[in-house]
Amino acid sequence: MTSLPQTTEKKLGLVIDLDTCVGCQACVVSCKEWNTSNYGAPLSDVDAYGAEPHGTFLNRVHSFEAQPEAGCSQTVHFPKSCLHCEDAPCVTVCPTGASYKREEDGIVLVNEDDCMGCGLCAWSCPYGARELDEIFGVMKKCTLCVDRIYNENIPEEDRVPSCVRTCPSGARHFGDLGDPESDVSKLVAAREGFDLMPELGTKPVNKYLPPRLKDQPSQSALTPQHSDAKGLFAWLDKALEKL
């Protein structure tokens, strides 16, 4: 049923540290690898070796530049995938009942056996987190690796989303954001984690940690501070200054 659950027992989600992410795209690749071979239809590629390659991805890393009033700009690498919103518009718009939010852990999923590929859920998502697969005709989105996190056939340290397991810089964290005592909730509290586009009222579960601000050195290390030159050199120094 595409009505949303009133509450969910857990709020499983990701915390993404924009201060730490180096934009290496490893999570993009590991996500594609895991999810093309497991849950649901594969993530197809079209014209992969041709002039206009394109395909389905569940996680993409954008790079932005933020320019403060004064000083240097900051480059921020910005991974983006489904935020498993509490008030997920993508679920309620779905006419077939394919899109749903799980009561037990809050994960938003698509049951591909029911999806008719109308694309309305993708229209309703503010974050561009859903992609209609061009070959299989069904809606694809992040499953929070629902087939890893509860999977007793894989070693315990692997029972986290593939992107979290892969990130070489430790910029991705996974846990229960509904439990204020969880590590991820404490991290969000300590680092002032924030929501994306809060004005749209989707109440995302995933949180982002802001990049730390750059130092603002009072003087550049490269400007000469003073000159002790005397005689001929003092004259040269002055003459050159005037040029």
Partner: protein
């Protein structure tokens, strides 16, 4: 938003078809027998043709039947149910009228109400989307309903009514354009999308992929927006002014009616194309568009 021809065809043709059906249900014009048959055939061809075009838009149509299941939450599901109910009720009404010369007045009223409900649910599919501020406005349902009623009156041969409804439609469209223009993306910016406004002004340094993808094709459509003004003028002059003038100023003949209907149709297609092409989706902000 990508102006998919199938969706443009669906929303305009089925809107006209349901408009005509609604008038027939109200007994305008009061036709029976073979004349009624021709009117109903036209209305059904438009409404059903539009619905089929919308099924062609689906990537996985074999599951389309499941779209009737989620009426509690989904406007698209409600639209499907309302459309089928309207077509069935009007079919009974039409059969009685054509073959038995019996006018089931109450059934006709019910059918007309269902036709308008269908068009209203269609409009709500767009109106509900907060992600597309230009659609998320109170003007969207009246524009869709006036499209349906104005075009329907034109097809039903009701010149005065058509002129009034089309004039109202024109006014409503101009209102929606100006409100949509000033609304922009309703307060969402690259800064709120990324949360990096706390640092300063944000720009895209590198997109996540070098080629196209579904998101860009579907929700970051930019082609032809620069022709918006020309298309608006075309929409109003062909879709509204010319048919209204023909209906009010010259004696209505078959010929003038056909010219008015064709002009209206071209204008409406242009307007509906703009409805999609001009609508900006907030997710395009992540691509700096």
């Amino acid at each position: 938003m990508h102006p998919a021809p199938s969706v443009i065809a669906f929303t305009t043709l089925s809107g006209l078809g349901f408009g005509l059906l609604a008038f027939l249900g109200l007994g305008l014009p009061p036709v029976t027998g073979w004349v009624a048959f021709v009117f109903f055939a036209l209305a059904y061809a438009l409404a059903v043709g539009g619905l089929l075009a919308s099924v062609a838009h689906l990537a996985n149509p074999k599951n389309a039947i499941k779209a009737f299941s989620q009426w509690r939450s989904s406007w698209l599901s409600r639209e499907g149910i309302a459309a089928v109910a309207a077509l069935l009720v009007m079919a009974v009404f039409a059969i009685a009228l054509i073959f038995f010369d019996v006018r089931l007045r109450l059934l006709g009223l019910l059918g007309a109400a269902l036709c308008l409900t269908t068009v209203f649910t269609t409009s709500m599919i767009y109106t509900q989307l907060k992600t597309v501020p230009r659609w998320n406005m109170w003007t969207t349902p009246p524009v869709f309903l006036l499209h349906c009623l104005g075009g329907g009156a034109l097809l039903a041969g009701q010149p005065r009514l058509a002129a009034v409804l089309l004039a109202l439609l024109g006014a409503m469209m101009i209102w929606a354009w100006s409100e949509g223009d000033s609304k922009g993306r309703a307060g969402s910016t690259m800064e709120t999308a990324t949360g990096l406004g706390r640092i300063g002004k944000v720009r895209l340094l590198e997109p996540p992929h070098s080629g196209e993808n579904y998101l860009l094709k579907e929700m970051a459509y930019q082609v032809g927006r620069k022709h918006a003004l020309k298309l608006r003028i075309l929409t109003i002059s062909l879709g509204i002014v010319l048919p209204v003038a023909l209906m009010l100023l010259v004696p209505v003949t078959h010929f003038t009616a056909i010219v008015a209907i064709l002009a209206h149709l071209i204008g409406v297609f242009a307007g509906r194309w703009l409805f999609f092409a001009e609508a900006e989706h907030v997710q395009a902000l992540y691509y700096g568009r």
